[in-house]
């Protein structure tokens, strides 16, 4: 019977064994094939001859510490779980692998088709965006510095007789009042504030205007404007300061902000926010107006690039603010 000398410890192993009986090292140099089934070369355990492996039943030569067939250690504390060197499975022939797991690349993986389709879609949408872009002046973002807003704007809605007193909101807490045009009843009001919230039917873009009062507490109109912007639209970036901003006949501070939002599940919106504030006798009144960003169009100039009707209404309402301490208009 041939013996195999372990290259690690030099122990002479008898018979066709796969593991060194002394140190447990694998004696199979390179995995050349699956483990052979039990055969006559691996004698089964017989009473009284050598050491029978408790797991695989192979009869090992006397005195060894590891099973030559499965590599299991013969120490007293051998655990029942398979503390064995696992069988090394032979690699499959390349042709066999190819036949069993065909690459669809061989059938023309549609990468080129997919990339072309995506490219065409991108070009198509670029063309559409070019086509639907409004004629005239090119659009611009926050880098544009529009000219100071000219005042007054043309009045909104049908012109009519002077506003009757029924179209007036008076703040119970701060005593200021504002007038609003026919057909634009406030959508909500309380002791401090009044608001208009509308969806314009023509293009279903909505707009919001709010006038609120608060105690100035020693702050300047500029500080009030910044505080309002922080609390309502903290991500907005300033575009320009409104020169000569005033509420009613009281000089104050005004700022136009730019804001882009693209909430998941909602439309991407480019908004403009106007905040103006003025203080008289310690009472601050603030006007906040928001609408969609409207690119410059030759026929509808809007200094703040807002929906022109919104800007017009905001101007009109803002011009009628009267504090309790000043005579009514």
């Amino acid at each position: 019977m041939p013996s195999i000398i372990c290259t690690r410890c030099g122990f002479a192993n008898e018979g066709a064994v796969r593991f060194c009986g002394h140190c447990g090292a694998s004696l199979v140099a390179t995995p050349s094939g699956p483990v052979a089934p039990p055969s006559a070369e691996a004698p089964r355990a017989e009473a009284g001859a050598g050491i029978a492996c408790p797991r695989c039943g192979t009869l090992n030569q006397a005195g060894v510490r590891f099973c030559g067939r499965c590599g299991m250690g013969f120490s007293a504390a051998s655990p029942p779980e398979p503390r064995v060197a696992p069988v090394v499975f032979s690699p499959a022939a390349p042709a066999h692998v190819l036949a069993a797991t065909p690459r669809k690349a061989g059938r023309g993986l549609p990468w080129a088709v997919v990339a072309a389709a995506l490219g065409i879609t991108m070009a198509l949408l670029a063309a559409v965006s070019q086509a639907v872009m409004s004629h005239g002046a090119a659009t611009c973002g926050v880098s544009c510095q529009p000219p100071p807003p000219p005042r007054p704007q043309p009045p909104l809605g049908p012109s009519g007789p002077p506003l009757p007193s029924s179209h007036r909101y008076t703040s119970a807490t701060y005593g200021y009042s504002v007038d609003y045009p026919e057909g634009f009843d406030p959508s909500g009001s309380d002791g401090q504030a009044v608001g208009w919230s509308y969806t314009l039917n023509s293009d279903s873009s909505s707009f919001e205007i709010k006038i609120q009062g608060e105690a100035a507490n020693g702050r300047t109109p500029q500080q009030l404007v910044q505080s309002v912007q922080q609390s309502f639209m903290s991500g907005a970036s300033p575009v320009f300061t409104i020169t000569g901003a005033e509420l009613g006949s009281t000089a104050g501070y005004g700022q136009v902000y730019d804001f882009t939002t693209s909430p998941q599940g909602g439309q991407q919106q480019h908004l403009r926010l106007v905040v103006e504030a003025a203080i008289r006798d310690g009472v601050a009144v603030e006007m906040i107006a928001a609408s969609l960003f409207i690119p410059d169009q030759n026929e509808h100039p809007s200094p703040a690039q807002m929906e022109p009707r919104v800007e017009s209404l905001a101007d009109q309402v803002g011009n009628t603010v009267v504090w309790r301490s000043e005579p009514a208009l």
Partner: protein, 386 residues
């Protein structure tokens, strides 16, 4: 070339599932690691069940959301994802409205379609499966976007001037996102009744495909009004970049991951499962539903309250990482707990390690779950049976 031989390798009793299995590094029946010296590790965290070369927690989008792809065929998908990311960054910085809308809405969903084609998850019913998931999802997404897009815009505009009110937060941050999540699942539920697709990974893939169809349509419809800006967006470069990265990468990955998780957990209910420590915590339907609802509400409220692009990408970027890790851990445990019975079959070349191994639920050599291999070629005949 040798024909596959009948299984003749010696067997060992797996201490985990107590079955006689081929003596490999892994138990072919339950996937437990049987390595010498270290005892038995049923959880085998070091070897992700859908790609044993990677740890269960490993930063790979492809092996997470595309679990059927063999490790050696991932490269084109990884390259495609990298190209998509680079293009999204470039188009975002250049503010090219049209191309960036097309890429943000379609790129990831189309990549998933290529994946479905490559691994044939749909077996021999491509029209039924893709129709029920991607196409049906896209139809629902279109209808939904026309309804929810203007509603959410209105809520946001009102919040900017009047402050965030409780009713508006409930409507825009809770109701709309949860209804959208239900609609994303609808496609997978159509296929739930078909017995032939009985693997948890089938459910996961159908859920993800439906969600991506829905997301593509929703993003396209919601961004199309921006085309009126013209060739270049009116938003700043930074805003444009953040928006397109959120919409083009984070949103599809989150939607696909969450919907796939819910569908996978639903599919896991269909058959017996093998008990594993923590599995209830990780892959039970209750846990997955609670986690999904919580994340949806958190993201929805964040979208309504923090409307600027920087907050948006922070919320969705964080959610993307969270969802991808969760999906990986869940897929690993779904594959290990799903009690599949595969009688030991003739040797075939494992699609992962390419060794000739007896056909079982797991490759005894590398430990990959056979259910996470393509349904093409040899994989088709070796599908698990419950």
């Amino acid at each position: 070339m040798n024909e596959p031989r009948a299984f003749t390798a010696p067997t060992v009793r797996c201490p985990n599932c107590e079955r006689d299995v081929p003596r490999g590094a892994y138990c072919g029946a339950c996937g437990a690691h049987l390595a010498a010296g270290s005892g038995v590790t049923p959880h085998r965290h070091q070897a992700y069940a859908a790609d044993p070369d990677q740890h269960m927690i490993y930063p790979s989008v492809i092996s997470t959301l595309f679990p059927h792809i063999p490790h050696r065929r991932m490269l084109p998908f990884q390259e495609a994802l990298a190209v998509i990311t680079v293009l999204l960054v470039l188009l975002g910085l250049l503010r090219w409205t049209g191309p960036s809308i097309a890429l943000a809405s379609l790129a990831v969903p189309v990549l998933y379609l290529v994946y479905l084609y490559e691994v044939e998850v749909y077996e021999d019913e491509p029209v039924l499966v893709i129709g029920a998931t991607v196409v049906f999802g896209a139809l629902l997404g279109t209808v939904w976007a026309y309804f929810s897009g203007p509603t959410l815009t209105d809520i946001l505009l009102r919040n900017t001037v009047f402050g965030a009110s409780f009713s508006r937060i409930i409507e825009g941050g809770v109701l709309l996102p949860l209804v959208a999540q239900v609609l994303m699942l609808a496609g997978a539920m159509v296929l739930f009744t078909r017995r032939r697709y009985d693997e948890a990974l089938d459910g996961f893939t159908f859920g993800a495909a439906g969600a991506l169809g829905f997301t593509a349509a929703e993003t396209l419809v919601n961004l199309l009004p921006s085309l009126r800006d013209g060739l270049t967006s009116s938003a700043s470069s930074t805003d444009s970049l953040l928006i397109i990265l959120t919409r083009g990468l984070c949103v599809p990955l989150v939607n696909a991951g969450l919907t796939g998780l819910v569908a996978g957990a639903l599919w896991l209910q269909r058959g017996p499962i093998r008990r594993l420590r923590y599995h209830r915590l990780l892959v039970s339907l209750g846990t997955v539903l609670i986690g999904t609802i919580a994340l949806r509400v958190a993201l929805g409220v964040a979208a309504v309250v923090l409307a600027d692009p920087l907050s948006s990408i922070a919320a969705f970027g964080g959610a993307t990482i969270l969802v991808l890790v969760w999906v990986r851990v869940a897929i690993h445990h779904m594959l290990l707990t799903e009690a599949v019975e595969v009688p030991i079959g003739p040797d075939f070349p494992c699609s992962h390690c390419h060794a000739l191994v007896p056909r079982m639920a797991f490759c005894p050599n590398c430990g990959i779950a056979t259910r996470a291999t393509p349904k093409t070629g040899a994989g088709r005949a070796g599908r698990a049976v419950r």
